[in-house]
Symmetry: C2
Subunit: 559 residues, 2 copies
Amino acid sequence: MASVDRKRHKMKGHRFILCRFLSEDIMPGAALDPSGRKILLSWPDGRNGCGITNEKGRDKNMNQYYEELKSYMDKGVALMHAMGLFSWDNETLARSRSLEKTAKTIGILSAEYFSNLINDRVKELLNCLKDADDLTEVERAVVDKMTEDVRQLEVIPPEEYQAYSELVSRSTSVWAKAREENDFASFCPVLKEIIAYQKKFAGYMAKDGQKKYDALLDQYEKGFGMEQLDAFFGQLKKEIVPLLKQVSQKNDAIDKSMIYRTYPVDKQKEFCQFLADYIGFDMERGIIAESAHPFTIGFHNDDVRITNHFLPENVESAMFSVIHEGGHGIYEMGVSDEVSQTWVGGGASCGMHESQSRLFENIIGRSRAFWQPIYGKLQEMYPEQLGDVTLDAFYRAINKAQASLIRTEADELTYCLHIMVRYEAEKKIFEEDYPVEQLPQLWNQLYEEYLGVTPSTDTEGILQDIHWSQGSFGYFPSYALGNAFASQIYHQMEQDLDMPALLAQGNFKEIDGYLGRHIHQYGASRPSARLLKDMTGEDFNPTYYTEYLKKKYAEIYDL
Amino acid sequence: MASVDRKRHKMKGHRFILCRFLSEDIMPGAALDPSGRKILLSWPDGRNGCGITNEKGRDKNMNQYYEELKSYMDKGVALMHAMGLFSWDNETLARSRSLEKTAKTIGILSAEYFSNLINDRVKELLNCLKDADDLTEVERAVVDKMTEDVRQLEVIPPEEYQAYSELVSRSTSVWAKAREENDFASFCPVLKEIIAYQKKFAGYMAKDGQKKYDALLDQYEKGFGMEQLDAFFGQLKKEIVPLLKQVSQKNDAIDKSMIYRTYPVDKQKEFCQFLADYIGFDMERGIIAESAHPFTIGFHNDDVRITNHFLPENVESAMFSVIHEGGHGIYEMGVSDEVSQTWVGGGASCGMHESQSRLFENIIGRSRAFWQPIYGKLQEMYPEQLGDVTLDAFYRAINKAQASLIRTEADELTYCLHIMVRYEAEKKIFEEDYPVEQLPQLWNQLYEEYLGVTPSTDTEGILQDIHWSQGSFGYFPSYALGNAFASQIYHQMEQDLDMPALLAQGNFKEIDGYLGRHIHQYGASRPSARLLKDMTGEDFNPTYYTEYLKKKYAEIYDL
């Protein structure tokens, strides 16, 4: 249920893909007949289970079983929609005073979501439908995804999950305080506990001899375990770390000061609305609001919402946020009606979702071709601030690369190196039982090694991300994969479309339509690896990414 | 569940108090043990029911039964909260394109709400707790209110209710079209069908020989049937209809033209925010947004939301809307923590809720004493529009009374006469089987009789309100009762508080605190009739209302 997961992680301003809803009570769901109207706790013929017949054609029972499963799915999707709306409301509108009482409602809906999914009847139905051969592709995907989600939720004993949930509900504030006070020591014991649970859970989740960290990674991006990631990050280490070194030596070559002039917020809003429209974020099905951290939430393909955040002395931040979130949003809007509001109604995976936002934000949004037709408009809006800045100077400014300490502020070139630090640290935690106390040193050392900078405090070091305090281990790599997917996808777009012409015309109808046909329409009914292969004709290949970066930065920095 | 009901009717911009959620499936709820954590489908001692022991002290079983009931209550309240949030979102933010798919979610939540409330276990628990003598006052109120709601929902056979729901889901658009096209004939057959159902339902709901219209009235304001309403409206007929005639003869005595000058909307917003703060609508627990029709929705006492609507050429509309909705909101905020988020967490009744909004809007908000300390501020904000208007001229303008055709635009003096038309018509429909075809003539004739004006079209006559198209019969009188309750309450406030001084100081802390202690804190845990009696020392007495109107208008119009 990637869409739904996405909602959650996005809502918190952090990544958190595996939905683990607190289960306080498990109610056995009642069975509904296909019309959804009657109680049907045993089958009409007296069997209290199901059997698969081998008749030809669509098996009547299969139909009935799927319809019954669908009623559980519909309820789960509806509850997730409701929880998503609460998240949206909490982030964009609700007063902080309201949160405590509202949390009670969310807790009840979560428990209901859990009990609706985890119960004997759903398991029975999933089991009945396991080998059914007359399901449509989407139905098959629904059955498989629900089966997987049930399994993931079920492998953890409820008492342990309960205790863990309580721990995690405390840990974020411990982390926030520690970050504020630059005090890793106060966060360390909590982090240790979380890691201990995650190790245990990883053990439960691991399939036949799977390594722990692979089991965690599997939650976020299927088919991208340590083997694939070691190769991917190895290539980055080999090619991008040296590239950054070259770029760093030319640090003064690009002047970015004009980006930080004063840009009135009302004009920023106006231009961001223009950008959203320009790239095809459909305002008849979309909403743009403000929140502390920009995020995207998709309730269904006709209700997709993004937020933005405006800084008066930074013209770049909000513009690229709206393009980034707009990319996520266009994905969610592009899901077909057949798939929307099903268990596979969201994006294919975290990484695939990020590929779309990064494709829009960086590959397209930070290209010269994108700005060529609209930079004049930006200049008109800010004659004092940008009247004297050429398109070329602007293009170079928005692409200035510089090693820094904070992931969320990283540029296109250095972003994946930040992820690499986290990947290496997580691998050591789960595969080498690395001592939690020594993680800050490891962190700083990896920053020095990959980015050539060293945090002077843990606040700007290991304490910067919320993820670990939420138990999200194995999540970070999907960010990096998203960037790499995007390059591979864009390379194919350049073969199939006349990208320079489309960007010169601002023809996003064509661009979005193409992505819709190849990726968006399927939602999560096809895995990301398959989408990539079907579209580009080959498996994931990180070379497109490294080549893209090398070419782009060589040109900009005249290397 | 008045709060929740209120949410619904307010959300639709119309009154609709009885929540009848479409039930497509009824799931037997599982029993939860008191901790809410385990499944407990039969009792530990093997009994699968309950028995009341006569031991002294709080009966352990009673405790257990109430705790179990509470888990159903909590779930119902949570689902209602979620549905309320969807309503809020739909009215204030969601795009129209999203509504169809979002309706699916709301339908599922509604069905879940219904099945959570209407099932054998809840009935069993309510039955067990019927005579329990060791419940707290709030617990007792919860049990009684749930029992009543279950009964009201249950007396109607599900198939009939299903068919009725389908009818009603169509009827609003039929009505809207008929209103637009001034075509009562096209609405008439649908209205007939709705009335036929309502008659049947009223028959089901009626308790021992109760008349049909009384059964309908009972849904909205307990203890105010035709006997009480005939007396109430009889008094209005005797005293207010002649008063209006007197006032109408002096129609030109008051100049209201300055109200309709041009008032920039941004300034209106600023002043309305000031007014909300001024009367004590707590922005730490409250939100103000915009919607086509102003409404209030309370999720719990820490999250209360109101909306407003701004007209650039009318300074009065938005100001009195915010005071009106603010009055509703202050009620919802004043509910105690013990009562909030329970089955009796909303206001005592429709009429009592309206009494608070009308008390703020009219009795306080349209008084000289209210404006004395703040009119200068309003003038400062609009020097061109109001600089030349004295407080007295402004006071008279905002109190100008004039018979008109449209209820929602009616002033304080004529409002209840509009309601009287509807009351008489409804009474004839249900007690005299008045022919539906002839209702427009009846309507026009009653308007002439009570207000001295006759609609020239059905659009501005019988087709003006949405209520009947939604099956809300018996609802209108609660509006009028609210006004009358307000006068009786205010009369008491004048005895207990130094109202002139408090209004001169703008001391709403004292005023709101007083109302909180006597009314708001109890939510719906005490019926409106009791609140009124406890506070004022007497039963409902409409004379306070007629005296208030007579005195006020005699002074304004120099009668």
